[in-house]
């Protein structure tokens, strides 16, 4: 296209639409999982074990994406897995964003001893290897959805804190903040109404990225059997099970892996797309 700006815009649009569509479908599946899924995700049928997906010979049309070694429907487990993945993604992603951004904003705007305390805390926090930290936390808290969410918040708030602090410091140095100070506006007001709106695009982009990370962390913990109960339909758990029978039934591993990959990718692309859309001036 002749118009450089126009062509850039169109590309951003495609990114936002593709990732948004995928996330939308996944969210709907998650929301209406019990209505949509053709089978009970926990129901075993040992006579129908390791059935291949619908296009392969020997498949059963009742099991569109085949069954695992215990004869459970892969499609139904994927759909119910989306439910767990999305709960974790949304709750943990948002909570992490709120906790981390809040501390980052305070550190970047107030500076002084508040900044020193928060920044040192971040430094110390980041010295722990995250996966080991998560496993340790789950060991202390016990398994379950709440524990996973808490673990993600406790581990990942530093990601937001560092970025938001830097951005808040950047914005605080701008002339419009000086003008607001001269106008006698209270500090709280300056933080919420002047600085936060300008840091928000960054927070949004990071939040969606964080949702993707939350999905991965949940999958990792399920993979090592530290998530929810063992037979619960989680994508990570399905991957772990599929791994043991990869030569006999590749589909048990491949489908959850593909869905996980696309979902995490969509989250990060969606965030980038939103950030560009939100930015009043394309910087």
């Amino acid at each position: 296209m002749l118009d450089g700006r126009g062509s850039i815009k169109r590309r951003l649009g495609a990114r936002l639409w593709l990732s948004g569509t995928w996330l939308g479908i996944m969210a709907l599946l998650a929301l209406f999982a019990p209505l949509i899924s053709p089978h009970d995700p926990l129901a075993q049928d040992l006579f129908a074990g390791r059935l291949p997906p619908f296009w392969a010979s020997g498949s059963d049309p009742a099991y569109l994406l085949g069954t695992d070694s215990l004869g459970r429907d892969v499609l139904s487990r994927l759909i119910h897995g989306a439910r767990i993945a999305f709960s974790v993604a949304l709750i943990a992603g948002l909570a992490t964003a709120i906790v981390g951004s809040m501390l980052g904003l305070l550190a970047g705007y107030l500076r002084g001893w508040v900044d020193v305390v928060i920044s040192r805390l971040v430094d110390i926090w980041m010295a722990f290897p995250p996966v080991l930290f998560a496993i340790l936390l789950i060991a202390v808290l016990g398994t379950g959805l709440t524990s996973i969410i808490i673990a993600i918040i406790v581990i990942d708030w530093t990601r937001f804190c560092r970025v938001v602090r830097a951005e808040a410091m950047n914005q605080s140095a701008m002339d419009y903040v000086s003008s607001a100070i001269v106008a006698g506006r209270p500090r709280r007001d300056i933080l919420w109404r002047e600085i936060l709106p300008n840091v928000l695009p960054t927070i949004v982009a990071l939040s969606t990225l964080e949702m993707g990370i939350a999905v991965i962390v949940e999958a990792i913990l399920s993979f090592v059997n530290l998530s929810i109960s063992t037979d619960a339909p989680t994508w990570g758990g399905m991957i772990a099970e599929g791994r043991t029978s990869i030569y006999q039934a590749w589909w048990v591993l491949a489908f959850p892996l593909g869905v996980l990959f696309l979902t995490v990718l969509s989250f990060s692309q969606f965030g980038e797309g939103l950030k560009d859309r939100f930015d009043p001036v394309l910087r």
Partner: protein, 292 residues
């Protein structure tokens, strides 16, 4: 009659350094008077304005001296009280219109915030006042501008908005920090005329920070020449242009290009003069150390 703004012996320094960035600066301004602060880059012109308004960068702080604004000693006030007092009394016209408006907010709240939040106006009244102000700064379609985001306006328009916003609460002191430096020459002249017009109409006391002596001659009644954070000459504008007393001021004036003969008049400031004034500044530092 006591002056509206008096700065007495003001010194500021960078944390952890012995060097002062403002060196015992003293001046005063009466109501309705415009004082020009001139000097080369880094002379501390903007720093003085920032010190008065309490927006010095966090690494720099006032180490001595007093600032009397409308009879109140700013240094003796509690920070929160000081901010409220400055908010109600003074205003800033910033240097760079591109960063001085919040990019993610519309123009209207950026003008009316101070009126609504600090002075307790109703939203409707503040809106009427904002429209009136935008008219005063000769913006043709104030309604549309009020609903715009800063990036939708040109640099000149933004500077007009900032001037309108500065005069919104009828401040008694306005500090204009190189308000025309970031604008192109054709717009500069209009903006200067506008500032002058509003300043006269509201008989505001004004500190006009600039490096352009031509601007000083048009806008100010008095001027102070700065070098290295020290005032080397205080003078009335007519006296200054008739014959500056300090050698550095003379050199500065000689370096100003004259439109009648641009090539011949474009002289750099003589190095000997710079050395002399630098030595003078250092000597005053020594004196200050022994005194303090």
């Amino acid at each position: 009659m006591s002056a509206f703004l008096t700065v007495n012996n003001l010194s500021a320094a960078l944390h952890g350094f012995d060097q002062r960035v403002l060196r015992s600066v003293s001046f005063s301004i009466d109501t309705g008077e415009v004082l020009g602060l001139v000097g080369e880059s880094g002379a501390g012109k903007s720093m003085i304005g920032k010190a008065i308004l309490g927006i010095l960068p966090s690494a720099i702080s006032i180490i001595e001296g007093e600032i009397l604004l409308d009879g109140q000693d700013l240094q003796k006030m509690k920070p929160a009280d000081r901010r409220r007092f400055i908010g109600a009394t003074a205003a800033l016209i910033p240097q760079d219109p591109l960063t001085a408006l919040n990019p993610s907010r519309r123009i209207e709240p950026q003008i009316t915030n101070r009126l609504v939040d600090i002075l307790g106006w109703s939203k409707a009244n503040a809106r009427v006042r904002a429209l009136e102000l935008l008219n005063e700064v000769h913006i043709d379609n104030p309604e549309r501008v009020m609903g715009s985001y800063p990036h939708e306006l040109s640099g000149g328009m933004r500077q007009r908005v900032l001037i309108a916003s500065a005069f919104a609460a009828n401040p008694k002191l306005v500090i204009a920090d190189e308000p025309t430096t970031a604008l192109d020459v054709t717009v500069q002249k209009q903006i200067l005329r506008l500032i002058r017009e509003l300043q006269e109409r509201h008989s505001t006391a004004m500190v006009f920070v600039t490096h352009d002596l031509g601007v000083v001659s048009k806008v100010c009644q008095r001027l102070s020449v700065l070098y290295g954070g020290k005032i080397v000459e205080n003078s009335s504008v007519p006296d200054f242009f008739a014959g500056p007393k300090h050698a550095y001021s003379r050199a500065l004036l000689a370096a100003t290009p004259k439109y009648t003969d641009p090539d011949a008049s474009l002289l750099p400031v003589d190095e000997a003069v710079i050395e002399a004034v630098a030595a003078e500044v250092l000597a005053s530092d020594k004196e200050w150390r022994h005194g303090g």
